[in-house]
Amino acid sequence: MDAAGELYDRHAGRVLALARRILRDEGDAEDIVQEVFSQAWRTATRYEAGRGSVAGWLLMIARTRAIDRLRARHSRPDTTGDVLLETMPGNTQAPSDQAIANEQYALIRQGLVALPVEQRTALELAYFEGLSQSEIAERLAAPLGTIKTRIRTALTTLRRSLRP
């Protein structure tokens, strides 16, 4: 098996799952998988291992492209654009060791489940649907300030769940 195929085998399942979660359409999700690996292929020389895991990088690309497609589907203005592709901060190193990264991800997953439902809902709308805080407030019929507080509190809780 060649290296590209091995890399695909290792990560395509998560990329496809995330794209499905965001787009809820199998055909669109598979298109995203192709776009993600194509993008990664083209920009491979710009990837720095110390900045984060390969999986994290691929999933960030997947999220951005999927949300772009979701916004286009709903004719919503594109505010994410290439933001996550191009501005993943260069001085923000995620854990370079995959085992540590996986441990951190597991902690986040546990933390997500433990969040109060209203916080988790607001955060998931922001992350998986790419909604702005104003759009979330409108969707949930809640004051904007409440939504801001819910998301901030949720992210603070999740950050605290990380190992130092």
Binding site: A4, L18, W41, A44, Y47, A49, A55, T79, R109, L112
Partner: protein, 276 residues
């Protein structure tokens, strides 16, 4: 960097990580995190959280046909010469806010090499030449990004200086030298709404391990406006937004020598001072 700016940017990091900011807002955040270790650390943790949320979705088994489709598309894409691909990266580098991603992920290069060889396409004259080219391009990219950062910073400072000098409430302050700075001359321009601009000439070199810090004193309480930037040839300058909390009434602007990075309250010798 002011605490106001730190607090403002710090409050935007969540939305930055979620991709909810406008381009200008993102640029402000990216400029700040290069200067602020606290915010950079916060953002690093937020990035891990974002990746963790992505990993919270259970992986699925992709249909076999998808793998064939993806690998087939990859095999077609590297047909353009590698040099062109690298140059393309130069063009698409964002003009602001992005650190150069140095280094090459060996897995991807290996993957690229395998597919390219599989296609029988000789894209590179030699591996060493390619690496040298990539290094050169990355150096140039780093220089370009650094230059852009400086231009952004200067433009921001120039805008603030103009807004101070043209503010309706701007008041010039004559400053005089003290202690070993009696030969120094300085002009300050204070606007309660816009900020402070101070230019000092013929300043003595600060004592070893010390820097000059500027204070705005209102109601007897000093507030740091920032560090006096060394412009060379004895000239120092600072353009800063107004510190929070300066009481109305008589304003004194003073320059003291302090440890690197400055202090929250003055401790060193006053070198320049003036009041209105």
């Amino acid at each position: 960097m002011t605490m106001d700016r730190h607090d403002t940017i710090g409050a935007m990091l969540d939305e930055y990580a979620l991709g909810q900011l406008s381009q200008d807002e993102r640029r402000n955040v990216e400029t700040h995190i290069r200067e602020c270790d606290v915010c950079a650390t916060d953002l690093r943790h937020l990035t891990v959280v974002m990746e963790g949320i992505a990993h919270s979705v259970d992986p699925v088994t992709p249909p076999p046909a998808l793998k064939q489709r993806v690998l087939a598309s990859l095999a077609l894409q590297p047909q353009e010469p590698r040099r062109a691909a690298v140059e393309s990266n130069v063009v698409t580098m964002p003009v602001t806010g992005v650190k150069i991603r140095r280094g090459v992920h060996p897995g991807w290069l290996a993957a690229a090499a395998v597919v390219i060889l599989g296609l029988g396409v000789a894209l590179y004259s030699s591996d060493a030449t390619r690496r040298l080219l990539i290094d050169d391009v990355q150096e140039a990219q780093a220089a370009a990004v650094d230059l852009q950062r400086r231009i952004d910073l200067y433009a921001e400072q120039a805008d603030l200086a103009v807004s101070i000098l043209t503010a309706g409430d701007m008041q010039p302050i004559a400053m005089s030298g003290k202690e070993d700075a009696t030969a120094s001359t300085a002009r300050a321009y204070w606007s309660r709404t816009r900020g402070l601009l101070i230019v000092a000439d013929d300043l003595p070199v600060p004592p070893p391990g010390r820097v000059y810090q500027v204070w705005v004193i209102g109601g007897g309480t000093p507030f740091s406006a920032g560090l006096l930037g060394d412009q060379g040839a004895g000239r120092g300058m600072l353009i800063a937004p107004p510190p929070n909390g300066v009481a109305p009434g008589t304003i004194t602007v003073a320059v003291t020598d302090e440890p690197p990075g400055g202090l929250p309250a003055p401790s060193g010798m006053i070198r320049l001072a003036g009041s209105i």
